[in-house]
Symmetry: C2
Subunit: 289 residues, 2 copies
């Protein structure tokens, strides 16, 4: 049986792009895997590690023979990448991405193509670690995780179907929703926690007691701030490209924090306990440990 794809081009062979390449190879979903990126050292390492078969330094050669093109770069780079690949992509190529904001990717593509290609289907695997780079990639990253596809009206059924098979093939559960809705949900579950973790660590770093603070931090702090070790460039892009949803959820969060702080300030034990209890119950019943 032939593989699902003849030739996959991964643009940006880091944690996510590298893990998808590894998984696609392990599951024999792509006959050939080619890398492209701005960091030649990462690409060389990716070949050494057997993550990709080869890499190209010319974008035309990277994409023109491929029936699958995966953009795994920070979302701020998408528009330029679309411009670069546009003249060279096959008409029947599936073009997708793994960006953490989806409306911005759809908007960027719509600015580049007068008519969006029927092979264009944005996607977002809800998986990752605080690490970055191809060295941190591993084939099992997507197993039992969700991947959200946000097709546009122009996305052809064959393209959606093949992309679903790719993600299911590497172990993910696939869900579909529109880009705007995706951005609201992800702002709440992923972007706001990152914003809060980055902000808290930076706050503590400015305090006089800084050295002691980090010395006396326990496991709870370590877990809470793990995501503050994530790639600043990738997260800068997410903050800017999903700013509306982030600011909306941040507004809700601030209102809640006001309520909790008022209860603490006025020593209203019942009010404090009510919020804490509700939060504990929500997490215990909804988050899989």
């Amino acid at each position: 049986m032939p593989a699902l794809f003849e030739r996959m081009t991964v643009i940006g062979v880091g944690l996510i792009g590298g893990s998808l390449a590894r998984a696609a190879r392990a599951k024999e979903l792509c006959a050939e895997i080619v890398g492209y990126g701005r960091d030649i050292e990462q690409l060389r390492l990716a070949v050494e590690l057997g993550v990709i078969d080869s890499f190209e330094s010319d974008i035309a050669q990277a994409v023109e023979k491929s029936d699958l093109i995966v953009l795994a770069a920070p979302v701020g780079a998408m528009r330029d990448l679309f411009l670069m690949i546009k003249p060279h992509v096959r008409k029947d190529a599936l073009i997708t991405d793994v960006g953490s904001s989806k409306q911005s990717v759809v908007d960027d593509a719509a600015q580049v193509w007068d008519e969006l290609p029927e092979g264009f289907v944005p996607g977002h695997p809800i998986a990752g670690t605080e690490k970055s780079g191809v060295k941190a990639s591993f084939a099992e990253l997507f197993e039992h995780r969700c991947t959200i596809l946000t097709p546009v009206p122009q996305s052809a059924p064959w393209a959606i179907d093949k992309l679903r098979k790719l993600w299911e093939g590497v172990g993910a559960e696939v869900a579909m929703m529109d880009a705007h809705h995706h951005d609201e949900v992800l702002a709440a579950t992923s972007h706001i926690p990152h914003v809060l973790a980055f902000a808290l660590v930076d706050t503590l770093g400015r305090m006089q007691e800084r050295k002691e603070i980090f010395r006396f931090a326990a496991g709870g702090f370590r877990d809470f701030t793990r995501i503050a070790s994530s790639d600043p460039e990738m997260w800068r892009d997410i903050c800017l490209h999903n700013s509306d949803a982030i600011i909306h959820v941040l507004h809700l969060f601030r209102k809640e924090l006001d309520t909790l702080e008022d209860a603490i300030r006025s020593k209203n034990g019942e009010a404090v306990k009510t919020i804490l209890q509700r939060a504990k119950q929500l997490r215990d019943t909804n988050v899989v440990v």
Copy 2:
């Protein structure tokens, strides 16, 4: 060689009290371990699990023969417990606690005793999990963790010395500081992260997309909100008993969050990246993974 203590009374045999009892037994630091608490089922379970030798339902009998009394109850219960044990404690008993706020414990004791006993030395092991109850206790909880002692002027050298030996005996590194300073440091590293995690989970629980939000939460969210599963009663008490320091650090955090939000709103990528990068570097260099 005789054990460090003849008889330890643990008041509140939960995660921390139970773990200290287990560790003290494993390291042969106490010849006998007695429990006291308001939840008779927990005490029965603690005997069954071999965490304590026996329990008393009368406070006089629980403490009068003990040379070590450890209060491992929520900090809101300390004042009443001091009142209860005061008529019955031995003059040469070491009286300590494991509460997460320390100034409030010192203040409570000062209200109960005209002259603080020379055996009184407050303490706080910087260790724990999001679980609670004696079933979650384990002897290794304090290994390679810090315990902070906050002696008062009345604390006798012999008492400080014996308490240090107890904590070092169960594997902890011991540090000393005054209660007020402890409360500032812990507000930053532990109390504020808990407040933010509780507030965020409660915020998301109020959103319309609530079900999807929890469905599409990944590992980062799980780690970030783990502490929101902590015991609401214990954390209500910490919020109320360290409210000044919590409100102070929350103020610094809000200022930082304002700066980051402004940068996101105005799409100032450089300003966003600067904060994210500084936070990542702080965490990577200061937090032991």
